[in-house]
């Protein structure tokens, strides 16, 4: 059934089970390294900057941002969509590859899920701030109130968005945590430190690996996996309807939901690639995250990049085919050749063209190249959102209403702050949580050893 013989082992180095537990949990026992402290320091500075930006935004108001009547959605929404997109990788990794029975995912899914949770948390900051009066954010909950009672508008994609992101954050976090429970138990039972035993024992919640526990665990993982797969597709579809139900040229298309979902998976996988290359290098986990793992992610990226290219071309084609002068203007005059041409071509080249290099085995196996490409994809995906949000708004139907947009330092600070939160969260994860799902790797490792006998 398993094709490990043809494709080589998933975990290299003929490891015993004890070795796997020891090697994966070793960062937890080491003293924090210099690079880790430096990383935490930089992240903290960025976070402080971000908190300053958030403070200014809340204390003074949205007027501190560069947004205006015409371009009502600025960096905040660009960054929101960007982070949500990155936050799709974890669940996509865990769920789709679980459904497709891709055993190689087990070395990567834990880190991808961690990234998801942090990224979705970062994303949630932006719409909350964008509401303006964030202390009234609870107005968005449908609850019996003294203002009418005025229930929320269920026809509004913005409300769907709020529900979808809350649900997604909660479900990806619980799926992530559920997977960690057996691994926390491993730490509880192998550590010699009393404090660690108590802390990890608390989070292991009495896990012992008994039949009843495993059986229900597998049942629950099946249920959560199944419904989360629906969620992955629906969350970014809903984000896309924020745009698609409006009548802005360049937004009002039926292509948007699949285009956004694919874009999200694309940027998410690129971020996974970035992170995996770093983890592997720093923690010397080459036996667990093998060249083959990275090769597989690269292959997915090539394929998804093709879909992205197709989506871009479809948009452009439909703009021409519809013969709608506003669509024509937005795509041909505004994006491809006009004022926003730089942003458009960065998007197109980084997302649709450069990843095509990974058709070549030589490039897929050159980790430096793969790493650079993955960073470029994330850059390109940021510019994709810039294109969507800014170009359509800045120049829509009436030239008299056209306006320019450039971010203020406060907006940039909030964005840098979320970058800080992200790296802070990921660094904490490196240090305190097993980066690779220990029990899953043990299971996959077994497949290979059984075959040999």
């Amino acid at each position: 059934m398993y094709k490990t013989e043809i494709r080589g082992p998933l975990i290299l180095g003929n490891k015993t089970l004890g070795q796997i537990s020891e090697e994966i949990t070793s960062p937890i026992y080491q003293r924090p390294k210099m690079w880790w402290l430096v990383g935490m320091g930089i992240s903290s500075i960025l976070m402080l900057l971000g908190f300053w930006g958030i403070y200014v935004t809340i204390a003074t108001g949205i007027g501190t941002w560069g947004v205006n009547n015409t371009v009502g959605w600025g960096w905040a929404i660009i960054n929101f969509v960007w982070w949500i997109g990155i936050g799709h990788a974890g669940t996509a990794f865990s769920i789709f590859l679980l459904i497709l029975r891709q055993e190689w995912r087990s070395s990567i899914n834990r880190a991808a899920e961690a990234m998801t949770v942090v990224a979705v948390g970062c994303a949630a900051i932006f719409p909350a701030l964008h509401m303006g009066r964030v202390w009234d954010a609870f107005f968005i909950f449908p609850y019996p109130n003294t203002r009418g009672p005025l229930w929320v508008n269920y026809n509004s994609p913005l409300f769907w968005d709020f529900i979808a992101i809350t649900a997604y954050l909660l479900i990806s976090a619980s799926f992530w945590f559920l997977g960690m429970v057996p691994d926390f138990a491993t730490i509880r039972d192998t550590t010699k430190s009393k404090v660690k035993k108590a802390v990890y024992g608390f989070f292991a919640m009495g896990w012992r690996g008994s039949v009843g526990e495993w059986k229900r665990y597998e049942g629950l993982a099946f249920v959560l996996g199944g419904i989360a797969a629906v969620l992955v597709v629906s969350v970014h579809s809903i984000v896309s309807t924020d745009f698609a139900v409006s009548v802005e040229p360049g937004w009002h298309t039926t292509l948007f939901p699949p285009y956004f979902v694919v874009g999200a998976i694309f940027s998410g996988f690129a971020m996974v690639m970035t992170l995996m290359v770093i983890i592997r290098k720093i923690y010397k986990l080459h036996d667990y995250i093998t060249d083959r793992h990275l090769d597989n992610v690269a292959k997915i990226l090539v394929f998804v990049s093709l879909i992205m290219g197709t989506a871009y071309l479809t948009e452009i084609f439909i703009a021409w085919y519809s013969a709608n002068e506003y669509e024509m203007f937005t795509f041909f005059r505004n994006r491809i050749t006009g004022e926003y041409t730089v942003q458009f071509w960065i998007m197109f080249i980084c997302n649709a063209l450069i990843p095509q290099l990974m058709w070549f085995k030589k490039i897929r196996h050159n980790i430096k190249m793969v790493f650079i490409i993955s960073l470029l994809i994330n850059l390109g995906m940021w510019f994709e959102r810039f294109n969507i949000v800014i170009t359509s708004l800045a120049k829509d139907y009436l030239p008299s209403a056209w306006a320019d947009y450039s971010p203020t330092f406060v907006e940039v600070a909030v964005f840098l702050g979320t970058l800080g939160i992200f790296s802070f969260g990921v660094l904490l994860f490196f240090k305190y949580i097993p980066m690779i799902a220990i029990h899953e790797v043990k299971m996959v490792n077994k497949l290979k050893t059984d075959k040999k006998k």
Binding site: T16, L17, G18, S21, P142, G148, P149, L150, W151, N153, Y154, N155, F159, W160, I163, A164, T166, A167, L170, I171, S174, L178, T186, D189, T190, G201, F202, F203, A204, M205, G206, W207, R208, G209, S210, V211, G212, E213, W214, K215, R216, Y217, G219, L220, F222, V223, L224, I227, A228, V230, L231, S234, I238, H439, E440, K442, M443, K446, D450, K453
Partner: protein, 177 residues
């Protein structure tokens, strides 16, 4: 601890030998009270006799959650306080679908998690005895109730099957997590 039971543990160092032992004891009709493994072993999970209905239960959660959410949306948007949004109908089923879908998923997740926690007894400081520390690391432990089975016979069988360690433990001697 209400009753201090004596447990007989057979410890194996590999999945193969554990599965072999499991089969043997099943064939000999010796009652295995539990098996502790570092990762799920499907042969053991399927044949041990413990059942879980968590998938069925989750389906019902989903069914009732969907009905409840739709009913809530209908009540608030149509009966309690209908608002005119640009002349659109109050009972807008197509746009209720999205909210229903997401909140159903949300409810199923929460309820299934709590069901799992309650049924598998997984919560902080639950107070379960850990019979063998290696079972979450690299050991495969098969456990018998020492009073219910013929202890001597089981020990002999375990020895023949290649158990690396055979222990008798009282519940009170274990560490509690």
């Amino acid at each position: 601890m209400q009753d201090d039971k004596k447990q007989l543990l057979g410890v194996f160092d590999g999945e193969e030998s554990l599965v072999q032992a499991f089969r043997k004891f099943k064939k000999e009709n010796v009652e295995i009270s539990d098996v502790f493994t570092p990762f799920p072993i499907h042969e053991v999970l399927e044949n041990h006799g413990k059942k879980t209905r968590i998938i069925t239960v989750s389906w019902f959660y989903g069914f009732f959650a969907a009905a409840a959410v739709l009913a809530f949306l209908y009540y608030t948007a149509v009966i309690d306080w209908p608002l005119n949004y640009g002349g659109k109908p109050s009972s807008a089923f197509p746009s209720f679908i999205v909210v229903t879908l997401i909140l159903t998923i949300f409810s199923v997740t929460i309820l299934s998690l709590f069901t799992f926690s309650a049924r598998a007894r997984i919560w902080p400081n639950v107070g379960k005895p850990v019979y063998h520390e290696g079972a979450t690391d690299d050991k495969f432990v098969i456990m018998f109730d020492a009073e219910k089975v013929d202890a001597e016979k089981v020990k002999q069988l375990l020895k023949d099957l290649g158990a690396i360690e055979i222990v008798e433990k009282l519940d009170s001697e274990t560490s509690i997590v």
